[in-house]
Amino acid sequence: MSQTNTITHDIIVVGAGLAGSWAALAASKAGVKDIGVLSKLHPLRSHSGAAQGGIAAALNNVRPVPGSGSSGPLEAIPPGEAPIDSWELHMFDTIKGSDWLGDQDAIEIMVKEAPDLIYEYEHMGCVFSRLEDGRIAQRRFGGHSTPRANYSADYTGHVLLHTIYEQALRYGVKYYPEWYCLDLIIEDNVCRGVVAMDILTGKLYTMRAKAVMFGTGGYGRAWKITSNATANTGDGVAIAYNAGVPLMDMEFVQFHPTGLYGKGILMSEACRGEGGYLRNSDGDRFMEKYAAGLMELAPRDLVSRSEQLEINEGRGVGPDKGGVYLDLRHLGPEKIMSRLPQVRELAHEFLGVDIIHDMVPIQPTAHYSMGGIPANVDGQVIADAEGTPVVGFYAAGECACISVHGANRLGTNSLLDASLFGRRAGKAMAAFIQNGAKLYPISGDPAQRQEERIQRLMDAPASSKESVAQIGAELKETMTNDCGVFRDGERMARALRKIKELQARFPNARVMDKSRRFNTDVLGAIETEHLLTFAEVVVASALNRTESRGAHWRTDFGRRDDTNWLKHTLVFKNGEEGPRLGYKSVNIDWEKYPPQERKY
């Protein structure tokens, strides 16, 4: 029975964070006006807005005071004096940060176009912090060899998100706030649209389009301790995977070194960019042992591992000794209030600590998904290791794997990635439409299949003892314990068995809210189903990769192995048999940027 309504647009974008809204704006500016953007939240609630520290670009506005060393004070580069930064340096830092797993052609595009992107943001009204002479201020960030993080105090993502959403409104983009995408329709390798629910009414719609883009964000909610919003349930990656699209490098999940103890809420890397220290229970700045050069500003994977080693060896702090201290006291009240006002509030509100006077306990927290839906530099999603396009399907931002971050992302490169490849995908979709893309027919009634899926959830017997929340909690516990900062084969095999068990239990889980109107109980169940879907891919990919690279660190295979593992993982859904693993080569310029040992 085909009772569902149909909506048609030239372009449908799912997700209204930086990637999604940039794509919509860029496509609209390029002349395609029939665009619909779906978001399961109001667009301004998107998690891009939670980013704090900055967005990278080699603008050459700031340099360390000559002779002051790598952690000395910064100053504006006087007019006419030589630049210290370049896209080449940004590129090398990003490649090294990625542990050589990033695709170098994509990284080159990102770092070259970065300054232009920042200026476009600025011209559209973004309120950046400034130098005395009116140029954009810059600060240091982990793994970057120069100060190239452009920022708005410590709420950069918030400012960028509001700017881009408002400009998209200005250009007439139609938003569908609080619409939830349930399914992606791909037939014969051609994308034809999506199925979505208007959350307010619970009504389902088949949404047809010539081009569909996912900018659905990351998948950190599969871990118990995470900086991610409750919305970051990896819906896009799970939906794409179920529709037959492979997932790439899913084992690479970044654990941010400074999540508030016990909560996981982010204390920006800008804390360390502005000069903050990390200390163990003995009061020692333990990074001396692990990265004597960059100290606290080593890349995130390295700092998180160092923290975990201190904790594992008994030098942790906090009630169960599971954290270390972030010490900002020496920065002084003025710097803290002007540069880090948000983190001061957070530490105070959640742990009752005033960072001006006291150290704050922190711990590694699941933060960013390097892996995702494989796409090329125009956001065009690919179907296999050969790069065959999925016609009409695009992806950008955290849900995509382009891959610019490889095995570990540098701080401030995510806002850049999401914005820049969102913009590129928008332009590419506009060109695709203007070159005569067609609206392809849809066979069967995909909305009806989703209707039945929802009905099954509602029909689970009220007598069932199984609850969605319980299954979700067990999954998160498993992922944090057995697929976290340090991994090994035995624990990951156990995690995989546990995920299988949870998948088998899920159909018996009951949904208590039986109404149609704004049913967050049903949405929570579907989100949990998505967590179970991609978590299996994460663990299967991680278990198979018998090396340590970037954020994927195995105690039973403690070294990077370029001979066997300098390649992307590509996972295909294989019916009931579970994930089928394949691999894809990494784009490397062997002359300019051959793999090196990664030391900081």
């Binding site: 609630r45 309120v127 919305a231």
Partner: protein, 254 residues
């Protein structure tokens, strides 16, 4: 400091309402164990997970930046993600949570913010920059940026809008959130439609409707000051032509 492990039993009193089945909102009580760290949002999540899955509320970021979870706690508008239950308990160990007042209820804590967003769009929240842009950034002074900081921090949660006595009875009033946003653009030296903006905000539904009773300041979870922004806009509206001329002059050296 972080959790010390001790728990206590508290009562969470929640207003429940599904317009499809209920005639009017009712208060229901839920008992649960909390620690000193448990936030009101944590408590709502816990009730939803373990007692009643139909309890409905918006939330996302968990740290007071996304603006989803504004509600009314013990009669006062606030976000619930950054408020610890302990800080709001009465003598009997209870806390009362209702949806934001003066807005239509969609379900339980979820309110219809349509009028709120309409007013936001009405003030053209976007910057309209000059046609000719420089090769690099516009040169703004740190002081010009500082003047924008308050308005730029607004997370559009609706706490002020729902606390405002003017919007409560007059949904045509632009409202504190949108006037704060308007002030962001009016004060931005890069904006080119200053004249149009000042005319709009000084019209019948604008800044002169504000009763200056500061409910918005009291409600704002980000400690912003919409009343002051409204006051600034009033002054600028009264010397609109001079301000617009000064803006044009400023843009020559931007």
């Amino acid at each position: 400091m972080a959790t010390n492990g001790t728990t206590r039993t508290v009562t969470i009193r929640l207003q429940r309402f599904n317009p499809d089945v209920d005639k009017k909102p009712v208060m229901k009580e839920y008992t649960l164990e909390i620690t000193s760290d448990t936030t009101i949002l944590d408590a709502l999540e816990q009730i939803k997970a373990t007692q009643d899955g139909s309890l409905t509320f918006r939330r996302s970021c968990r740290h007071a930046i996304c603006g989803s979870c504004a509600m009314n706690v013990n009669g006062r508008n606030t976000l619930v993600c950054n408020q610890r239950v302990n800080a709001h308990l009465d003598r009997k160990g209870a806390v009362t949570v209702r949806p934001l007042p003066y807005l239509p209820i969609i379900k339980d804590m979820v309110v219809d913010r349509t009028s709120f967003w309409e007013q936001y769009q009405r003030v053209k929240p976007w910057l309209v920059p000059p046609d000719d842009v420089p090769e690099k950034e516009f040169r703004m002074t740190p002081e010009e940026v500082a003047a924008l900081n308050d308005a730029e921090k607004c997370i559009m949660c609706g706490a002020c809008y729902s606390a405002c006595t003017v919007t409560a009875v007059n949904k045509r009033y632009i409202g504190p959130h949108a006037l704060l946003k308007a002030s962001l653009r009016v004060l931005d030296p890069r904006d080119t439609i200053t004249n149009e903006r000042l005319i709009e905000i000084s019209g019948n539904d604008g800044v002169f409707r504000c009763h200056t009773i500061f409910n918005c300041i009291d409600a704002c979870p980000k400690k912003l000051n919409p009343t002051q922004a409204i006051e600034t806009l009033r002054k600028l509206a009264q010397k609109r032509e001079a301000f617009v001329a000064a803006r044009k002059e400023r843009q020559k050296s931007l």
